[in-house]
Structure formats: C-alpha cells, structure tokens
Chain length 387, copies 2
C-alpha cells in the first residue's frame, strides 16, 4: 500500500469545530454561540439576482458554461470600484469560493519549506494548511498586554494577519499596519491579510483593507469574503487580491504564479453565486443592515457577560467577543458553560496556546436566540465563574 | 523579498487552453471545437430546484449557513443510490465544486515525494498539480497500438486513469480494469479513477465506475462531476469517492485523512448548486437527453472527418474525437485547420508527447454551430490534410 503523507502526522487529531460539535452532541435545547455562522436571510434583491442567474442558465440564450477561473469580469470590476475605490484594479482580484479555500491555494502558491508567522491565537486554518504542506510555523503572541497585535515580528517568509481579528475581535490600527508594512519591506516578508470581517468595522478611523497603507501593494495579499458580509457562508463566494507589484526575491511576478495556481487547482466560483455577489455590492445598505444586526447581538451578549467576573474584548468592530476567565482551562470553561447554560461557545485554546483561559462568543445568531442566550448567561451562569 | 516556490519552474509556461485562446484571438467567425465546455441549457426541473434553494435562503425559515464540508447528506445519499446502486455508501462520497478542484485536493492528500503515473496523453491538470506539489511524474503511453490503454504499469504511488478518456475518447473495458486493479493491489499503488465523462457511456458492457471491479474499493478513489452530466460547468459541482476500506501501508484510514483535507482546504460546494445536483439525479431522462445530444454532435463531426485522410478514434462513448494526422505537428495542424476553416480544435501535443500528430475535436456545442462546423470541414478543409 501507499505510505501516508508524512506531514499529516503534525496535525492535531481533530479540527476545532468538529470537536466542539462532538462534545455538545449529548445536550438538548442548545444555543450555539460557537462557529461564526450567519443566521439571517439573504436580502431579497440578492436572492432575486441568483434566481435570475439560474433562470438564464435554463435558456439557450442565457446559458453559459465555464467562466474564467479568476472570476467574472463584472464582479471583479465591481469589487475594484466598491471595495477598493479603484486603488486595486480588477485584474488584481481573483474571485473564489471563499476565504478558507483561498488560504489553501495561497499556501500552494508559496509552497513547502517556507516559514509562516501566525498570530497566537488565530483561525486554525492558517496553521493546518501550512503543516499539511510542510511549512514551518512560528507564532506571534497576541494578548491584552499588546492589544492583541504583535509587538515584534519574527523571521518568516509569510506573515498572516487577520483584522478584524478572529478570534480576539480586535482591529489593527493604521499605525500598527504602517509599522507592519515597513517591517515587511525591510525583512523581505509577504503579508497575507485576512479581511474577511472588514464589513463589521464601524469606527471610521480603522483601516478596512491593508491597501489603505502606502506601499502595501508591493508586499501584501488580501483575502476577503462575501460569507459574513451578506450571509453567503453556504453560497460560497470570496476573493483575494494579488497585486501586480508583488515580485519574488529573484524577480518574477507573484500574480502570474497565482494565476497558474487558480487555473490549475480551481475552476471558478459558481456563476449563480457570482451573480449574487454582484447584486450584493449594489446594495451597500443591505450589507450595513446585516453587520449592524450582528453587532447589536454582540452588544447584548457583552452586556450580559459584563456582570460576571471576566474581561471582555472585541465585539465592537467585529462579530466576536473574546472573554478572559483567568486561570481556568478553555475546555473546562467550555464544559462548565455548556452544562449550566446549554450555550455552545468556542474554547480559546482551540485557536492557539495564547487562547488558553479564554472563550470565544460568536455574535452570529437570530435575535430571539441571542436574547435567550443572554437570559441564560444572566440566570444560569456557572457558580465557579460568577463573581 | 520572498523566494519563488521552486517547484513552479517545472511547469511549462502556459496552461493549454489559454494558449489555444491566445492563438485564435485574431480570427473572426470562429467555431470552437476545443475546450470541453457544455453549450446546452440546464433542464427546467433543475434550474427550478436552484431557484427554490435561492428563495429559501431569503427566508428566515429556509435560511442555512455553512453546510458540511463533505456535502449535504441528501445529495450524498442520492449519489450513493443512483450512481453507485448502494455499492458505495453515502459517507464515502465527498461533494465538491468539481473534479478539477478535487484532483488538486487529492494531490494535497498524498503529498510531495510521491510518484504519480499518468496516461500520455492526459488531461494536463494531473501533471501540473503534481509538479506544483513536487511529485515525480511517470508516463504510460496510450496509442492506437494498445487501444489507448497502458499494456504495463510503471512503479508509482498513484496511478491516474481517465475513462471515458479525455482526450482519446476511449473507454476502458471490464477486463482492462480488472487487470489494473489486480496489478495495483500487488504493487501497492492507489488508483485515481477519473469518471467525469461516465455519463456518455452507451455500450452497456463498458464499466461506468471503477467500483464495478471487485476489490477496487481497497485501492481506488473515483473522481466525478456534474459538469458534463447536466451542464454544470459554470455551476460547479462534483464528487469524489474515498472508500473506507482504503488504508495506508503503515495502517490508518485514507478516508480519515481526506476528511481532514476537505475540512481544512475546502468549505463545501454552494448550497444552491447542491440543490441542483439533487434535482438532476431525480431526472435521469434529462441527463440521458443531454449526453445523446452531444454524442450526436460527435457522430456528425466524425462523419465529416471520415472523408479526409485521418484516422478517427473515440466519439461513441465519449464526447471527444481523437484524430490522427500522422507526421504533422499538432500546433501546425491546429494552425492549418484554424486558418482554413476557422475551427478551433485542441492540439494533441497539449495533452502529452503521445498526442503529437493528433487533434482533439470536442463534441460540445449547439447543433446549429456543429452543422456549420461540419460544412466547413467538408468544404474548407486544408489541402495539405486532404486525401
């Protein structure tokens, strides 16, 4: 028989969320504040656009087969215009079936034998894809002491930064990103900026894209998504920006190589999903309405938790609350909260060792459920965690 | 700056079809018999199912966010039942956004430092994904002499076999696949069986799946797709089968590891596309109608080519004609045919050195266009290629 891929033995046994699901399985009457999964319907104008696309596929005149692997030109143009105000050109934008999938393709682009720097805590996919492709991983501690943003950056080929951050809910400032970009240029590191939650930024002084920083287009890739923006978690649509200015140490265009990755490992996002994405960007009011809805959820959960003995971070420009319970281990916290309140949270340690002692509360959920969750926090909170 | 992924330098400069497009760009009034892209509308029952899915996503009650990365249970069940008559269980089926993308994920599963055996000629993606992930590639000559099926198999970890074959249009027989499966078991090789064109098989004695061969579920993965089956090239939907019986040399389940690949590098196919796939399998008559349509195109093109001095293979249980022009180089053939007839074909050498001297004619296309193409073959055929 064939030998196993040796790099797979470096993975921890279970992916975080399946493990959360497994542990919650035996409980009833659960409310999940765990996975960051959208709950609110997709606005009418957008579902109508997708229905129209499906109808067209059923007619001789409207039928289209393969689209460009890089995505439909109209959608790339629209993202260039609406999201990047023309700073990024349409041909620097690659439409995808979501940010998670693009992270995998970017790892393939840069390949094994690279060192990646990852925030600790972080979304587990950066590390897991890196390990599976034989990359070396170094960590950057993100704690309340440094406002969840690394003070110094390690030697690495690629540096992943997620802002608004999953799981800490923190958002990098202009000054922080300027430092990072300057450092990356000096130290020959590429930044992979995960902006999947940028739609939640309310504070106008905070940067929504790495490209708001001058010179970032020489060393930074940005990954983004329609998932949280407009409820497309199941519809699958995202994009990545690979600027044409990015070149390798020995010369040669990163954009050209990524084009090769996308045309070989991918075949385009669904044309129906792309029609939905195009319509979404024509309705910024609907996008704002959804973000505001989930942020109000965050405010309600935060308010309930404030009466308990824990420090709460995030939730203002991000749909996650990152809650510090001190010395108690995350999976124990998870279990206590689960048993007493039947609320599913996410143990902070699942995002890295610096998440130990934390729980992540997701603000995605229907208001009725969130109000129910709030009541449970207020009335059924575990005694060990109460003030 | 960061160094380029060294494995990328092993790739030939251009992916085949972009090069075809580039060369055809300056001509007018073209008819493409090149890329295998569906042209006929998606049947009404299927577009209606997708519209219904989009409508549901717009309602509080019907909204769903993330689905399982492995796909919706109902669709996995339906494929198990309709395609595999229960021989393969639903949890061995992984729903994907298409066969091409699954091939990439399977390469990630097995990893670098593996040797892959690939038919020559073959769909370029097997080799390109392999090279990009630092695999070694060995080739199996497929020529008229061996009925386009390898006589012997080389030492390799993975062996790719595509049947009905792209580009040769040949279909492996039961006896051939039995030989292959027996050899694979003895020589510790896994088979990756690409069945993306199985819907075109008309001859009931030919196997549509590798799992018709006893014991194949211990050593074979099957990749398949809705693209050609029901016109989903742009909608994006496929599946792969990773049997639970497959284990590594040192023990351990291949299925478990692929689950990890899929949950890390992927996030599920679009829920709207999946609703369409489910409806498609409820309408086998519609599937048959589309296959018959394209095979009639193949028959018409074949008939026109028969009057010219060339040997024609395929087209009876596959939507491709593989046409042997003897000593003339493929790109020269491509150019001659393009200039005289304004027909875009695919040069056989783009599929490997054994394709030199061949052109592939795709039978996808609307009948009016195909009849037009037939007329051009009959009346404007290059003199150098005429009898």
């Amino acid at each position: 028989m064939v030998k196993r891929n040796p790099h797979f033995s470096r993975l921890s046994k279970n992916y975080l969320f399946p493990e959360v699901t497994r542990r919650a399985r035996s409980f009833e009457n659960l409310i999940s504040l765990s996975i960051g999964d959208t709950s609110e319907p997709i606005p009418h104008a957008i579902t109508e656009a997708m229905k129209k696309a499906a109808t067209q596929l059923g007619s001789r005149k409207g039928y289209r087969g393969y689209g460009a692997e890089q995505g439909n030109a109209a959608l790339r143009e629209k993202i260039s215009e609406v999201i990047y105000k023309g700073k990024i050109s349409a041909d620097e934008i690659f439409i995808s079936d979501g940010a998670k999938c693009d992270i995998g393709r970017l790892q393939i682009l840069f390949g094994s034998d690279k060192t990646i720097a990852v925030q600790n805590p972080a979304y587990p996919v950066y590390v897991d894809t890196g390990l599976m492709l034989n990359q070396k991983v170094v960590y950057m501690e993100c704690l309340p002491e440094n406002n969840f943003f690394p003070n110094t950056f390690p030697d690495a080929d690629l540096l992943y930064l997620c802002s608004p951050n999953n799981p800490t809910g923190s958002v990098a400032t202009h000054a922080q990103l300027e430092n990072l970009v300057q450092w990356a240029k000096k130290s020959n590191t590429f930044i992979i900026f995960d902006a999947a939650y940028s739609g939640f930024i309310q504070d106008p002084t905070l940067p929504e894209s790495i490209y708001e920083i001058e010179g970032a287009d020489e060393i930074a890739i940005e990954v983004s998504s329609f998932s949280k923006l407009i409820g497309f978690t199941g519809v699958r649509l995202g994009w990545s920006v690979i600027p044409k200015n990015m070149t390798y140490a020995e010369g040669g265009s990163v954009h050209d190589d990524y084009t090769r990755v996308v045309t070989t490992f991918f075949n385009g996002a669904s044309n129906i999903s792309q029609a939905g994405g195009l319509a979404a960007l024509d309705h910024p009011d609907e996008i704002a309405k959804l973000s505001t809805y989930y942020l109000e959820n965050a405010r309600l959960i935060k308010k309930a938790l404030e009466s308990k003995e824990c420090r709460i971070y995030g939730g203002e420009n991000a749909p996650y609350l990152w809650v510090d319970f001190g010395k108690i281990e995350s999976w124990d916290l998870f279990q206590m909260v689960l048993e007493k309140t039947k609320l599913i949270t996410t143990p902070g340690s699942g995002f890295g060792s610096c998440g130990e002692g934390y729980l992540r509360f997701s603000a995605f959920g229907n208001r009725t459920q969130i109000l129910n969750a709030v009541k449970r926090i207020e009335t059924q909170w575990p005694e060990q965690l109460s003030p």
